[in-house]
């Protein structure tokens, strides 16, 4: 058979039973559409999470104090509660460790912030001028804290956009205004750009002040809450992490690794873990949607078996006229492949529409990648062949004499 003949036969066969062909294709359409949508949601979520993590700074190592051990009791208090890290540790890291771009220690404390007619309770971060570089903070208005501010222990403050909105109102320029933190007055010198994220630990609802101002007036000690280190490139992160561990163990005079009084969090590890989880989730969503695709495939097989039985006499005639087994197989196989193919194309369009809809009505990002389209296309063609082969094979196995007599 010429390829044009196979298409002609398929065209007439599919169109001669529009309702049945349509319903069968619908099974595939729904199956493919749900696979495409689910994968796009999974991938979108993975993308969301990793961009959020990366927005906190790239190639980041964060050293935080470990747990304090209460002497005489075999119990530990919460991680990060100890005040074992000091500003000197940050300086030592910057001096002695190779392969890092910048070191940004931070001190934080929660304080009541008051202006005339308004007040809020928010996190106050004592930071250095290196902080924006390390933690990807950008300035919307005014300037960030400078080296000069730190040297002079200036009482200046940079507001997060949400804090600005809470205190001064949305979009107001507060630069030059005075705010009261605790019992001290600070001059606002800048506002940062929103990063997204909300609730506890938001990077938009906070106030930055010079680190030594914070230590001097708010916490009253030279300990720090975190030391953020930006490493030159991702491959050096593990090495730098090990070097910092060795350095700090020596500085803190700890010889037994079990007594370690700090933790180092490696951003690359977190990203790996998160993308692994997101990958598993995508797979799970895809697999659930895949079940409906399987059901669609069974629908194809069911329809093809009915078609073959209905057309027994026609098959007998074709064989009597000289059709070989391969001709019959090709004819019926192409029918099921065309049905799944058309269903696949429509399903991808429907899935694309559905994921755009999901993106529109909810916060979830959805991403349709080329590979998810190629995958669902491949799967639908595969289903057409697999579920169409048995009925086609059956048609080809008919004996022409008995098939011609079939009533």
């Amino acid at each position: 058979m010429l390829i044009s003949d196979i298409f002609e036969e398929t065209f007439f066969a599919v169109l001669s039973n529009k309702v049945r062909s349509g319903l069968t294709a619908l099974g595939i359409i729904i199956g493919i559409a749900s696979v495409v949508t689910m994968i796009s949601i999974g991938q979108g979520t993975a993308y969301d999470i990793s961009t959020k993590i990366e927005s906190l700074g790239s190639n980041l190592l964060t050293v935080s104090p470990g747990a304090t051990k209460v002497i005489g009791m075999n119990a530990k208090s919460a991680t990060g509660s100890a005040d074992t890290l000091v500003i000197g540790d940050a300086d030592a890291i910057e001096e002695k460790i190779q392969g890092i771009i910048s070191v940004a220690p931070e001190v934080s404390s929660r304080q009541q912030v008051i202006i005339k007619g308004s007040n809020t309770n928010t996190n106050i971060y004592g930071v250095t001028e290196t902080y924006p570089q390390v933690k990807n903070v950008e300035i919307e208005l005014g300037t960030f804290i400078t080296e000069n501010n730190i040297r002079r222990t200036s009482k200046v403050a940079v507001l997060g956009p949400e804090t600005r909105d809470n205190l001064f109102g949305i979009g107001v320029n507060p630069v030059g205004e005075i705010i009261r933190i605790g019992s001290l007055d600070f001059v606002v010198i800048g506002v940062t750009i929103a990063k997204g994220g909300s609730g506890f630990g938001s990077s938009d609802d906070l106030i930055y002040i010079p680190i030594n101002t914070a230590q001097h007036y708010l916490t009253g000690s030279d300990s720090v809450n975190n030391i953020n280190i930006q490493v030159e490139d991702e491959e050096k992160m593990t090495l730098v992490e090990e070097e910092i561990t060795t350095l700090l163990l020596a500085r803190h005079g700890i010889s037994n690794i079990d007594d370690i009084d700090f933790n180092i969090m490696n951003q690359a590890d977190i990203l790996d873990t998160v993308s692994e989880i997101a990958g598993t989730m995508t797979l799970l969503l895809g697999a659930i949607a895949g079940i409906s695709l399987l059901v669609g495939g069974i629908g194809i097989m069911n329809m093809m078996l009915t078609t073959v039985t209905e057309r027994t006499r026609e098959i007998g005639l074709r064989k009597a006229l000289g059709a070989q087994n391969k001709d019959i197989i090709l004819q019926f196989l192409s029918e099921s492949v065309v049905l799944t193919f058309v269903g696949g194309v429509l399903g991808i369009l429907l899935g694309w529409a559905a994921s755009s809809f999901v993106m529109k009505i909810s916060d979830t990002t959805t991403i349709i990648t080329t590979w998810s389209i190629i995958l669902s296309f491949g799967v639908s063609a595969f289903i057409g062949i697999v579920f169409g082969y048995y009925p086609a094979r059956r048609a080809a196995s008919f004996n022409p004499i008995t098939a011609l007599r079939y009533e």
Partner: protein
């Protein structure tokens, strides 16, 4: 052109053997018009299946156009049917919901003949079968019985087969239309085509030049028209 040597077909159902055909031998020359006649159950259908390369014999040989078809595989038989044999069935067996033209060139589809050439060949076959050009694009189920059988004849002619095998071609037609169809076969025979007509009606068989009578799976009689006339003359 056609030679059967000791054709035998035995069907086995469980332990019982049925001799559908027993030791049948005959020759048919090119250009002959032969009727095979016999009551139902006589084995004439089995013989037709052998002659039409739809089935192979249990033993014996069948030469069609020089090929010994008796040992061919299913696909080889399909090739023989495609190239050498044109079928006309009692029930017409046209593709429903397909145009007359598509029905006629169906055998050419399996011969992979290019489309332009198909139209030409279908056109010629339709003329030979005596169907008007106006019906070309009609759907086959819109035609009358006689027209359907003409389409079927055109389909049998389209690939220029060595042999046309007609199985009760008038069985589903009224006697008047049947006569016209039989005349068409006669005309085709005069143009040099070999035709085998299978029937159980004696008056239909009489249209042929030679009548082979089958009974209980064996040839009971093989007579030519000229001989029959002679016999009749002697009796008179």
């Amino acid at each position: 052109m056609i030679e059967c040597k000791n054709l035998t077909k035995i069907y086995k159902t469980g332990n019982t053997e049925t001799r559908a055909l027993w030791d049948v031998s005959f020759k048919i020359k090119e250009g002959e018009f032969v009727a095979i006649i016999g009551p139902s159950g006589s084995g004439k259908s089995t013989l037709m299946h052998m002659l039409g390369a739809l089935d192979t014999p249990t033993s014996g040989e069948y030469f069609l156009d020089g090929n010994d078809v008796s040992n061919f595989s299913d696909d080889e038989l399909a090739v023989i049917r495609k190239k050498k044999i044109g079928f006309v069935f009692q029930a017409f067996n046209l593709l429903p919901r397909a145009s007359v033209l598509r029905n006629i060139y169906l055998p050419l589809v399996y011969e992979e003949i290019p489309r332009e050439k198909r139209y030409e060949m279908a056109d010629k076959a339709l003329k030979n079968a005596g169907l008007d050009k106006e019906h070309y694009n009609h759907l086959s189920n819109q035609l009358s019985g006689g027209q359907m059988q003409r389409v079927a004849i055109a389909r049998a002619l389209v690939n220029n087969p060595a042999l046309i095998l007609a199985d009760e071609p008038t069985g589903n037609l009224d006697s008047k239309t049947g006569e016209v169809i039989l005349d068409t076969f006669k005309k085709l025979n005069k143009e040099g085509r070999t035709i085998i007509l299978i029937t159980h009606e004696k008056y239909i068989a009489e249209h042929a030049d030679r009548v082979i009578t089958i009974k209980d799976g064996e040839i009971e009689n093989d007579s030519r028209k000229s001989n029959q006339k002679k016999i009749k003359n002697i009796k008179e």
